[in-house]
Symmetry: C2
Subunit: 410 residues, 2 copies
């Protein structure tokens, strides 16, 4: 049985825990001695296990009192709580686009969810050169439903305020985002790192560009002061498990109320990183297609939810005005999300190249000089976007500028 205090679970501890949770034990089938436990920890923060039994499989995630990849970095245990709250909030809105919630243990800080079968991490699939054109629009659908459904457009403000209160406690992980995305890359900080000395002049340019720094200040302020909807908070291509016909957003532990464009921007930013890590022109075109399809799908689905004419929506922000003017106002709201998306995407690219937490995308390039040139290309692109916030008004402009980068770098 579960002990009454926190301890890090091993295979025996996991069997003991699950044997006390009928909904999970029933799914595995058989007796605990038949359950296979495999550690599959891959992210930066937590221990993750796949547990299989005669009739089924589950995924178990336990918070550690430190960062998994850096045990000297201490951290409170509550992150699986927020992931569990996020999952319970968004699963009814997005159906099969995330995993099924099965159990949360508040003492052991363990979350148990449906195990995925045959799925691969989207980033890994992209790195292998797989082209699955349905994944990006599915993420557009996911964000549209998860954010609309948790916003003041869909809910009475009392419900939104209660949810904001819950997720406003997720300060440890929000602090990580704040520091790693919006602060450290823009000044000297020991957590920053980049291998290629040729990036250094570009980094110094970025840090002395007033328009760029003001754009980052604006994004930082919006991240903390625009609680439009419940966000995933870390929606990069490593937070997506997929196969050709089924896509799941996982790992919602960074969840917070924030600007909808933050989730859109994290996703787009990681596709931009993949773009610059891809030497192949066809694959680069596919990435531009994916970003466009993502945005088109998000935009269309969000508007559809807003304008559905079933029962009048319960949301506090139900329209006062109707007709063409109201539609114009809806488009203006989506333009604000579009501007946020581009800004947050650029900030994500910068921090993934010169900040603490890099991504694996560029590992596909064996030659260090070529790898450095690709990283420099990505960094220069993101710098250009932030430096020209006033000029690059639409994702179309953003993608045109991205497309022109095919001619350089490689």
């Amino acid at each position: 049985m579960t002990e009454s205090t926190y301890h890090t679970l091993d295979a025996a501890g996991i069997r003991s825990l699950i044997s006390g949770v009928p909904v999970v034990a029933g799914r595995l089938g058989g007796t605990p001695d038949l359950w296979r436990v495999h550690e599959v920890s891959d992210g930066n923060l937590n221990n993750v296990f796949i547990v299989g039994g005669p009739t089924g499989e589950v995924c178990l995630k336990q918070s550690l009192p430190y960062v998994r990849v850096d045990p000297t970095w201490k951290m409170p245990l509550d992150r699986t709580y927020f992931e569990s709250e996020w999952l319970r909030a968004v699963r009814p809105l997005v159906g099969g686009l995330t995993t099924e919630f099965l159990h949360f243990d508040p003492v052991l800080h363990v979350l148990i969810v449906e195990s995925l079968s045959g799925h691969t991490v989207y980033r890994s699939a992209l790195m292998r050169g797989v082209d699955w054109p349905d994944v990006a629009p599915r993420i557009g659908t996911f964000i549209a439903h998860a954010t609309f459904g948790t916003s003041l457009l869909a809910l009475p403000f009392e419900d939104v305020f209660a949810a904001r209160r819950d997720f406003a406690r997720n300060v440890t992980l929000t602090r990580i985002t704040l520091d790693l995305v919006f602060d450290h890359p823009y000044r000297d900080h020991p957590r920053n790192n980049w291998d290629e000395p040729e990036l250094t002049p570009l980094v110094l340019d970025i840090r002395s560009s007033a328009p760029t720094l003001l754009a980052v200040e604006n994004l930082r302020r919006r991240f903390l002061s625009q609680p439009q909807a419940l966000l995933h908070g870390d929606l990069h291509t490593g937070s997506i498990m997929t196969k050709a016909d089924d896509t799941r957003v996982i790992d919602g532990e960074f969840a917070l109320y924030g600007p909808i464009g933050f989730d859109c921007g994290m996703f787009v930013g990681n596709l931009v990183l993949h773009y610059f890590a891809t030497p192949d022109a066809t694959a680069r075109s596919a990435t531009i297609r994916d970003i466009a399809a993502f945005w088109t799908c998000f935009h269309a689905q969000f508007l559809t939810l807003w304008n559905r004419d079933e029962a009048p929506p319960a949301g506090t922000l139900r329209p006062l005005a109707y007709g063409p003017a109201a539609h114009t106002a809806q488009l203006a709201f989506l333009e604000e999300i579009e501007a946020d998306t581009m800004g947050f995407a650029a900030a994500e690219v910068i921090r993934r190249i010169i900040g603490y937490a890099h991504t694996a995308d560029f590992d596909v390039i064996a030659d260090p000089r070529q790898r450095g040139a690709c990283r420099a290309g990505a960094l220069a692109f993101a710098y250009y976007i932030l430096d020209h916030t006033a000029q690059i008004r639409t994702l179309g402009d953003f993608l045109r500028h991205l497309g022109e980068q095919e001619k350089v770098g490689l």
Copy 2:
């Protein structure tokens, strides 16, 4: 002694309560039988008493389980809690511009504060034709210090998130603002009321003006989705006690995290109401002077706090960029507050004329036809402001248009 459950206090109950609170009993001096208790309830919601003893006086406020002026309108008791939390948060920031907090009783929902001596309600002073030019700039100072000091500019985001969580529980009074300010006036609702039939065509115009309704939608969304700072939440001229040389903001029970321009707009809106209720050209000019002085003072003080070069500020939103560009960004932030101020002021004027809760300003006009004409002037002005949100960009434009109203109405 205090009983362990809530009950409405009478004079004996008040003496009993205070005798158990040394800091208050000590201020009154003497023994409970010497304490005089006067009921001075005046606002819409609560019972208020002045309690005097041989050496001092205090003000005691108790929540009722209903709206004081409408006992059929049931209401939870927690509003004195939020007023108490607000007072504890802002008093250290604004010093003598609010009252001293003395005691809060969470069972009886009683707040005890310093009693004011010789102060009058600012709205009443204005109605008597008193001209105290220092009051409006003091309110500018109050809002600048109270909002800057509770914002992400001054505090680590963890502290701001904790405060937002606390005040996000103030849903009962936030719901009242939402309904009475941003919803009911713009549709048929039994709580709306206006005596003058000549206002009705104007009301119907407002309700069919798409730009106006979209402006109100935008203000409503910003009210609920821009938690920039801790607001008073109901900063009309009746929430200000003043004499020529001392001004106090009281009654913070509507406190919430919201857009700074909401507090500015409530205050400006109530000066606009006074303007239209004033037949005298000199008094009208004084009101325009007061609005301008309020804004100038708020603007200057806010910038001073932002740029003070003592110890580097602890605020999460400390600058990344310095120099002229940073100053431009500060001014842009204040322009956003300026736009909010004008919009919220107009919304306040409209709801005070055609909504549930009117103000006394127009009672100084004895002739009903003249009173109707003055109310129509105010309503038409507010309608014009909301209908021309895109054109009226500065408070200067707003005041020029207001000044032109001297020629009409009376």
